[in-house]
Every structure is written in C-alpha cells, then in structure tokens.
Symmetry: C2
Subunit: 722 residues, 2 copies
C-alpha cells in the first residue's frame, strides 16, 4: 500500500447557470489538482474508489528518480478539463489537439495511436481488435505532446479517444455534404478524450513530461520503476511438451548441450501438477517421482525450471479445503478461485507454493488464464469474500498472483522471472513478461512496440511454423525481446526443428547471449529511470511520428464510409537506447525501414545507413536488420551457451558506432538477488570519441569483474552531418 | 405508454444467515412474482428503472390474444431464481438445464443457441460476433423448454448464458484433469443464465409457453403484436444510386417496365436531401426541382418512394435552430442529435418531415446509422436534455425514430413500411425491416432465422455480386424475405445486371408476387397472434433441436483449448407456417436439408421429399429449395408486376400439399390503411381433405373480392405415414 498522497481534495460542486446548450452543467465538478509528486498531479472525486490501482500497487514510487525528471508545470489547460458526476457515474473530458497522438490505453497489437478508437478497458485474452480487451488494459495514456493521464480505477473504464464531437466545441470541423464534398470525413476531428468511470468516486492523475518518453518514465517510476530480471531469465528458454516427465526433460537439456544451443530455462507445461485445469500445485508422482532430486539434477546443468500453472485450485489439492471459504462464488473448470485480495488466502496459497515448489528450487511460474475469456472465467455477477467486485478482481487477478509469488521469492532474496497472461497498472515492477495464444507474428512485434507505453513486458514466443523461413523469422524476434523462448507445449518443436535454418537460429540465439551486458544495462534503466527496454519508435525524441492517413476508395460493401487507413510503424522497435530492430517477416525479401533523425549504422558492419529517411534493406536471410544510433555503444561478451558462463574474467567488447561522441552506462550486479536494491551493483560510464574509449567507475559493488576489455570502433568512415 | 401493471411489489431484503460459501447472501432480494397478464409474470426491484422499454413501448399489449395462448402456470422453479442487489447493481441468476437451449438475446448472425456465450446487449452495427452488439440487442430470451425471460432495461445488460459455474451448484460437472482425461471440457455445464443490470432498480418478466413458439407469441403480443405491412411493401424494391435525380429515377422505373421486372418501391439514397451526413430533410433543388410533381409522376407508375436518411440534422436544415436546444451534447458528422425523448423535439422534427416529405406522398424512410459504430455516434458521456442517459438513448434511438415517423403516417391513416438499422424490445409493431452493411450471404440467412426470436424483421438485401451465380442466389433469398430489395446505392446494379441469370431472377421475383396472399396472411398472424412470419426451424414444434457438438482436434495455435464446435442449422428458415426455405449458396451444387418430423413436399412439384430426416437436394439453378409441410395450403395469385394489380377479380389458386387434412386462414384487407385494426378485413378459412377443398368466410369486411378460385392438389400420390 502506498500512502504518500496529500489530504483529500475538497470537492466543490459548481452550480453554474444553465443554458439550453448545456442543460446538465450543474453536474460539473470542480477539479482541485494537487501535485503529489514532482510533475504528477491528481484530483479526487468523492474521496476516490476504495479499491484502486494505487492503493494496491506492489511497489512504492521512486521519488528521487521522479524528481530528476524535471518539472515544467501542469501540462494542460486546467479549464479544458471537464468532470461531471451524473447518476453515479463520472464523466471526464480532456483536451485533444488536432495533430495529437494518444498512445497506451492497454497493450495493443494492431495500432499505436489510439485516436479515433473507442475502448472499454477490460482484462481479456486479446481478440484481434484494439478495443480495450487485452492482457494489460492499463488506464493510462501518453500524448505525443508530452503529458500523460492515468485513471486510478480497477473497474472497466470506457474511453472515447477523439471520437465524439461536442456541440459546444469551437474547433469542430464544419459539416460537409458527403455526396458532393470530397473532404467529408467519416471521423471528423474531436477536441476531447472522453472517459466514463462507472462510479461517482474517481481519481485522475496527470503526468508531466518534456517528451512522451519522460511521461512514460514518470508513470513507470510512480509505480516503482521497471524490473531487472535475474540474468538467467535473459538466457534462452525452452518449454517442453505437455506431460513430459523428468527423464524427457533431462534428455531435452542434454540435447541442447549436444546441439550446442543456448539454454538457461526449461519451462514445464501441464503435466507436472498431479492434476491441472484446475491445478493442484502438487507434483505428479508418476512423471516427477522425486521433484527435489530432479530440480537439483537440472540445476547441475545450470538450467532453471519454470512451471506452467493457472491459479484455479483443484479439489485434489491439499490447500483446496482451506481456500474454499476464501474463494469466489464461481469455479473455473471445476477449480475454486482464491480471493487474492484476502491476506489469509494469499498466505495459504503462498505457503503451499513455497513448500511444494519454490523452496525446492523452482525459479518461477508461467501464469496462464488470468486474462480470459469471459466464458471461462467468473462472470461479473460473481462475488468474492473480500467484497472486491468480480470486475475489479478480474482486472487485477494476474497482478495479484504475480505479486503473491514475487513476494515469496523476495522473502528468500531471490529474483524470479516468469510469464503471465494478464497485468495492469501498477505491475511495471512485476518480473513477468506477458504472452498469449494469438500467434500472429506481425501483431507480436506491434505488441513489443506497444508494451513500452503501458509499463509491461511482452514476449513474442515461438511455437511452430509452416516453413523454415517463418521459423527463423520468429526465432530472430523472440531472441530480441524480453524473453527468448520456444513454447513447444503442443508441438514439441526444438530450435533445430527446421535443419535448413538451424545455423541461423544458433546465430541469433548466440547474438542474444553476446548482447547480455547491453540488455541487462537496458533493464537497469527500466528499474532506475523507468525507461522501457522495449518500446515503440514514437518514444524516440528524434522520431517523426506525424499521423499519416491513407485515403481509401469508397467500397460500397467493404468500406461504405470510405474510412481512411492510418499508416503506422508497427514493425520497428527499440531494444534499449541504441539498437533499433526492424524484423523481416515470412515472404519478405526486402523491407522499408524508417530511420529517425540522426545518423544510423548497420549493427553488423558499422556502415552508415541513413539519417531521418526511409530506406529499403535486403539483408542476408540469417540477419535480422539491426540499426545502431550515432554514438551508440554496445557492450558485448563472447558467445556463451548459458548465463552461468557470464562471470569473473569474461572478456568484454565495447562496440562503438558512428562518429558522434558516445556514452553508455554499463550496469552489473550479482544477477540473482535483490541486493542491488541496497546499492550492491556496479555502474561504469563508458565514453568514446574519435576512436578513443575510456571507462569510469560510477559505482563499484559487484562481486566479480570482466576480463579483458576491448574497444571496437565499428564505423570506419566519417559521415558528414546532413 | 402502457399502464396496466399491478401496484409495485414490496421488496423484502432477506437477511438470511451467512455461511462461508455464500458470504454475500445478505444482498439477496426476495422476488415477488406477480402475474400481470395471463402467462406473464414480473418482479420489480426498487421500483424498477424510470426509463424502460415497457413504458416506452409504442403499442399496448394484445390482451385478448395473450389470453388465448393458455397458461399452465409459472414455468420455472421460483426458488431457483436468485436476485441480489450489490453496490448499485442487480445480479440475477436464472436456472438452466443441461440440454436446454437459449435463443434470442439479440439479432444474431452466427448462431441460434446462445448457451456458452457472454453477451453485452448494446445497439451497434453487427461486427461479425454474436457478442450482444447488434442491430436489435433485445434483452429477451426464449428457452427450448418453453419459457422466456425479459429484462425491462434500456441499459447495457451483461448476460452470461450458461458460462460461469457456481461453487454451490450441486449439478456442477466434476473437475477433470485436462491432460489425461479426454472428457475434459473447456466449457463445463453451468446451471444458470446470469445477468448483470447496472442499476439497483430492475424489472424482470417471465413468459410462459407450451412451446418456444408460444413464448415468442406471448412476447410479441405483449408489445402489441407484429406488423402487417402495406401491400406495396411486399412488392419488389429497387434503391437507386446516390445522387440520382428525378429524371434518372423515372428512367429506372420505365426500365423495369420495359424489362418486365416487378417494381413497387423506389428507394432514394443520399442525394435527395439538399445536404446529407448530416441531413436537412429538405429536397435538393437541383436534382429534385419539384418534389411534389415528381412524387405524383412516380405514383402514376404505381410506384412508391422511400427515402434514405439518418436522423442527424444538418445546420443547413430549417429545423436546426429549433432543435438545437433539444438535442444531445454531441454531434454526429457535424449534425445535431435531436433528443427524441422530448415531445417538443419530436413535434418539431415530425412537423418538418410531415410537411416536406410525408404530406407530398412519400411512403416511408430508410433510417440509417442509428446503430453505430461507437466512433461515429455519441459517446456514453454525452448528455441529453430529457435527462435520459446517452446509453439509453443509444439503445432506443432507432425505435424512437421509427415510432415518430410511424405516428405521422398513422395520423393520416396510412401504413408505412421502411428500413432501419436499429430496433429493440417493444419494436415488434414497428413497420420496419432491419438491414446492415455486413453483406455476408450465409449470415444474412442466419439473421432471418434469428429475427423471429427477437420480434424484429430482417432484410437480406442484394447489392452486388462477384458472379452471376451469387447474384441469383442472393436474389432468391431476398425475394423470400420480409423485403425483396436490390440496394444499388453504390453499385448501380439492376435485376438484369447479370443477363445469364436474368430469367431466373425474374422467376423468383414473380414467384414472390404470386405468393403475396400467402405472405400477407402470414403477416396477419404476426399481428393477430404474434407468430413471426420469418423464423428459425427451432420454433417449429416438430423440429428436433437437440444440441449437436462436434468435437475438435486440439490445435495448439488455433484451438488450444480444443473447443467443440456447435453444429447449428443456420441455413434454413420458415416463411410463414407452411413453407420451409433452404437456400443454395454460391458454389453449391447440392445441399443437405433437415426435414422436421412430419411429411414434407417439394413446393414446385408436390412430390414427397421426406419425414424427419436429412436429405440432399440438387435443384436446377433457377430453383431455391422450398418445402411445404403436409397439409400445407399455399394461396397464390397469377404473376403480377406490381401489387396494384392484386385487386378486384384477381384469380386465386389454392395449392394443397401432401395428404393430411389441410387448413389455412386467408387474410385480406385494403392493404394500405389502419382500418383493419377496426375490424375492416376479411378472413377465410380454407380447408382441404382428400382432394376436396372448401372455403368458409370467418370475417368479411374487405372492399374487394378475388375472381375465380381454383384448388390445385399438388401431391398426387399417397405417402404412407412413417
């Protein structure tokens, strides 16, 4: 629970004079914006909702880091924000400029800019539409103009992002005759983002930021900053098929060794529980007769074990009877739904997991089915003993489960890293990547871009493929994501399932391992500064994110309203501060890449690629197009198979790209405990200019040091500034 | 306004003893079921919602007709209905048996049985999912066991149709291990339909019925019974392209005459208004310089004119300023949204339409864009001067507009018939067929089947086609629907656009004209008895509507939960009591037809086709498969081009099918006024047995009579009873 806000705002109900055009203006509520932290203002209506994201947040704000972001004052015209309370609901209208873009409002997969969309934010399995139903429907948006808005409500919130045009809007486009005026628009400009909260209690927060990135940072830091996964979490993951037993798992591990493919984590899918769907969280005696011995065996191979689960408890579990009175009114697949808003339920559940899995050495969980679908989970008419509504429970169940498990690991000062199918506001510090069953490669990449707006991590897993080409393309992006993973639960695929591309798969997996220092440092910025390690180009200051509309021909069956198509850059993303990824998809021989302003260089060769322009690349099949910014330093280690090899004496190569003076903060720590939170970490300031590099220790608290450090200046030519 | 209910139920809040499994049982509300009309019970919670469908219903119940349906008492176990009020919301749980099917809950296009679905009933353009967003999201369901439930709320209602399994459900399926038990189900049986009303005020009605059909009848009669369209409305409709002028329209009419194709109505699409999107409801002076003269000219050709519109009023309209203070807070395409819940707004709007269109002889309207999408219409945060919420206004806007227009016609004792894109509960008496932009032929037919559960008419229009075959297939079904229409607004297509199938198109259009006495009599049953003229097979008493599930293979990307597929009969429907339609779709050379129990005969030949079995038919391309029940009488007239030819002296053929004793009530009236409501109509009881027919006048109040009447016994052989 975070308790740092100022006393509650006094609410003044404005009884303003009515006129015919504003008949309900007496429902207007005067907002009293109070700055709660530098650059973060809130207004509270009717004391706010009792159950909300801020009170439930697992981690406290990073106040000092927020202060460092600067603050140039309330970013909006206060008089342009209108709040009404009508019949028990709160209506909010926030200003929207004509060229403004609105990002966030949940983990989207088809779009970045949400203007023109109507969204009902609702935790669910993503269902092919950016309509608010998604794995992380975070009620937060960031504007391209550099501010953010957060609604502190765990109810389903309706958001109209520049759709409705208000009658009293002085900037409303003039009506046009659709039949004779080619400039008629199906979606005319609206000057507002309008929000409906189904409660007369509400809390709205506004985040300032010089740039959209600063806003995202402030939001992330407000909820405690991002996660630094344990090092093993950034190695390669393989999830074995359903019903695999201990011997099959050991065989899988040895196959990886024999085939010389990276492997840090084995994920066990359904079959390790004695029963699942619903689950027991007790080992199956036949497939895993001696879990402790098995886990040690795996550990001896320097491999961690992650366990699939869903949180619905089977009657065959020994915790079932105890949890029964502490669970919701409805079952899921015959399992009870423990009320994770009750401490007693969390304790029983946590003790059971601690005793049966964590204490034996299990490294973490994959939390399935905390998202949807509606027809599987509890209905909104379900009740829970805590009194928290079914709706609020749905919105936060993934978050609560992750929090419960993370707390258990924290108690033994061990980091965990896992997967979950739902997160929400306040979950930025949760060491979990989101995933789903959707499996559309392009959407997976758009998810990576979008994740950065919402304070979540997204994992574009590989399951199977129709062709070797697709397999490779998917492997390339999975290896350049928060979690490099094959999920072979149903297919039994291996990295070598398509022999013709196996070498290329090895290449990209080993490249990921070489990039570990860079990745790890990028995650440290997530933690310390709130900068998402994976994010859309729109968060780059130098990126031109002007809205591009493509006018469409009228089609009287398929597009009867001649809606324009928004052309967005959904296929590029930043990995850390210096590397831009522009994946190739199946069937592509070449692709366009939009280079932000500033010089950009080929990651593989160091050669100049362009500056603020659209280029076409046609890379060899084994190379995913990667671009490094001018003055980008990429710290790399030799190709290792397991993160355990990243240790005392590991040589370090510092690649430098371009001609501009370069700087990078290299981060390191023990890679597994929470000691870094107490200052036990190392940061080195790397600087390079004109072929000369230097290293300065900023903080030196690690237990080990790199071996030989080698500067490699990748760019040989001097490119004139445009 | 209907005012016939008994005084309000006293609410007793049961403070039952709590136990750990039912922690919130003190929120339970005791229902007091009162029979308001024979076989119709209601319970009211906290006085019910102020704005609701029953109070807003345009037509009063047909009490006498309801009485005739019989009544065998409250159809459910009252103790199995649970109502709770929690935090301002009403939670309702109604029983659901294992094999029970639930129909209705809106105009669906992909399914009939709604069990297993979660729906949020919300007026919208149908968007390819039966999720409650549709053109008529009627909060009413009818059970295959013969009862119905209606929620009298114009808010968005959430319905969980047998999805959530309650913890205290004694019939809950036992949990299974998904990995080892092949009988694991992704959707285990739930014993409840659960409903969430976002209000602490609610009204629930239960409808009794010996059969699902009786329930539907009772529901339809409760809202006044169905519509009898004017006769011209059942002729052929052609909608001319956007921006057509008076001369082009006259040319179209003469082309139809020359080509010898039926034509009763010309629909004018955008372009007749001086401005549209938003609309003026004033004639364009260039395209229609003399509307009155033009309408008379059209009338001289025995053709009616229907006008496209949407209700959003352009600033260029002379009624704009007057309506401005009586309109909602938001605009649609720059037009104001008159608050049709304000009498003053309706009067201004109605006067304008009366003066400019109706009084000149316009026969009706096509009411566009009263459904959605959300990003075009007003947001739920809009406000309206009547104080009715944006949500309730959205749910009823189509209904209100139809009601306003119908009232104008009623004032001059003229029937209208038109199209609208939204309807809802209480709109069964509205003389409008629903339509949309979806244009999927199979879905259109499923819509016809579904319409009968919801008290609405659905029109599967023809726009264009990729092939002559598709054109014909679509023409065939449009001609066997509530409205036979080509909507050529964008394509400019004509019935002869595909010359290779023109004769076949003529055939089906003329067949519709021949069937007019049958169709008109079927509509009379809609009016008098609430029997939908177009409906799903499941409403046939002899139809076996057992649920059929097809077990699917596990697909770890496309069907990871191995969900079974529901096999439903979405491609057959009843037209009136005697004709079953089983359309052919593009690409089909043959098709399966499910024949209900009882002997069925080929409409074209009279030959026996089968009895309670699945047959395969491979008809000639010009024939849409039509089946007539045993003892079915089909009254037909000669092929006429216009309904004006259906008059004094028209000969009548009475086709008789099968061997069973046959009966049919032939209905007739003046075809245009409301005089039939005062008894000015004719009904004749047609009876036939063993090759002998007889006619008995039941009521004889028509102004004209048929000429020669000829009995035609289609079935020559005696088919033994199975």
């Amino acid at each position: 629970m975070i308790k740092f806000f100022l006393p509650l705002t006094f609410l003044i109900v404005l009884l303003s004079c009515t006129n015919t055009e504003k008949p309900l203006s007496n429902d207007l509520v005067k907002a009293n914006w109070q700055e709660t932290l530098p650059g973060i203002w809130k207004t509270v209506i009717n004391k706010g909702e009792t159950y909300n994201f801020i009170d439930q947040a697992p981690v406290a704000p990073k106040v000092e880091a927020i202060k460092k972001l600067g603050n140039s004052g309330f970013p909006l015209d206060k008089s342009s924000i209108e709040i009404k309370v009508i019949n028990g609901k709160t209506y909010i209208s926030l200003p929207l400029k004509k060229e403004e873009q609105i990002y966030g409002l949940g983990l989207n997969f088809k779009s970045l800019d949400q203007v023109g969309k109507v969204k009902r934010l609702h935790v669910d399995h993503y269902n092919h539409r950016d309509d608010g139903r998604t794995h992380a429907p975070v009620p937060f948006y960031v504007s391209s103009l550099g501010y953010g808005v957060f609604i502190n409500s765990a109810q389903y919130i309706d958001v109209y992002v520049g759709t409705g045009v208000k009658k009293d809007n002085p900037d409303a486009p003039k009506p046009r005759d659709r039949n004779t005026d080619p400039n008629w628009e199906s979606n005319p400009y609206s000057n507002a983002v309008e929000i409906l909260i189904p409660s007369d209690k509400a809390e709205i927060l506004v985040f300032e930021g010089e740039t959209p990135m600063k806003v995202v940072q402030r939001f992330n830091l407000f909820f405690g900053g991002g996660v630094i996964p344990p090092k093993w979490g950034l190695g390669f993951w393989q999830r074995t098929p359903t019903l695999y037993n201990n011997k099959e798992v050991m065989k899988e591990i040895s196959d990886f060794k024999e085939k010389n493919f990276p492997l840090d984590v084995i994920g066990l899918e359904p079959g390790w529980h004695s029963k699942s769907y619903p689950c027991t969280f007790e080992w199956d005696a036949e497939r895993f007769p001696n879990p402790s011995q098995f886990i040690n065996q795996v550990d001896n191979e320097s491999v961690k074990l992650n366990l699939w689960c869903n949180p619905y408890v089977s009657p065959s579990s020994s915790m079932y009877d105890k949890l029964m009175p502490l669970s919701g009114s409805h079952k899921v697949w015959g399992g009870i739904v423990p009320d994770l808003n009750m401490e007693e339920a969390r304790n029983i559940y946590g003790d059971h997991i601690m005793k049966n899995q964590i204490s034996l050495g299990i490294s973490g969980f994959k939390v399935d089915e905390v998202d949807g679908f509606d027809y599987w989970l509890w209905p909104d008419v379900a009740t829970f003993p805590s009194g928290v509504s079914a709706e609020q429970t749905r919105q936060t169940y993934g978050l609560k489960f992750m929090d419960m498990v993370t707390d258990l690991y924290r108690k033994q000062n061990t980091r965990t890293y896992g997967l979950a199918r739902a997160n929400n506001a306040g979950g930025v510090a949760m060491p979990y990547a989101l995933y789903n069953d959707q499996y559309a490669h392009q959407d997976f990449i758009a998810g990576l871009a979008n994740s950065g707006f919402n304070g979540v991590l997204w994992e574009p897993e590989v399951r199977e493929s129709d062709s070797a080409e697709e397999w490779l393309r998917r492997m390339q992006t999975s290896c350049l994501s928060p979690m490099a993973m094959i999920n072979a639960w149903g297919s039994g695929t291996k990295p070598w399932s398509f022999p013709e591309v196996y070498e290329a798969c090895q290449e990209i997996a080993y490249l990921r391992m070489q990039l570990l220092p860079y990745l790890y440092s990028s995650f440290s910025r997530y933690y310390f500064e709130g900068i998402p390690p994976f994010r859309a180009m729109a968060l780059e200051d130098s990126y031109n994110s002007e809205r591009k509309l493509i006018k469409k021909e009228l089609d009287h069956t398929d597009n009867p309203y001649q809606q324009a198509l928004l052309k967005e850059n959904l296929t590029q993303y930043m990995m850390g501060d210096n590397i831009m990824v522009a994946p190739m998809f199946t069937g592509m021989k070449e692709r366009e890449v939009i280079l932000p302003k500033g010089r950009w260089f080929n990651f593989y060769t160091g050669s100049f690629m362009g500056d603020g322009e659209v280029i076409t690349v046609a890379p060899p099949v084994n190379q995913i197009p990667l671009f490094v910014r001018d003055g980008g330093i990429i710290p790399m280690i030799p190709p290792i198979r397991q993160t355990s090899e990243w240790k005392e004496g590991t040589p370090l190569t510092l690649r430098v790209y371009g001609n501009a003076p370069a700087e990078f903060i290299l981060y390191d720590d023990d890679g597994k405990s929470y000691d870094f939170e107490k200052g036990k970490y190392t940061t080195k300031l790397l600087k390079a200019d004109k072929g000369v590099g230097q290293i300065k220790d900023l903080q030196n608290n690690s237990s080990w040091t790199y071996g030989e450090i080698h500067w490699e200046f990748m760019t040989k030519t001097n490119v004139p500034i445009k």
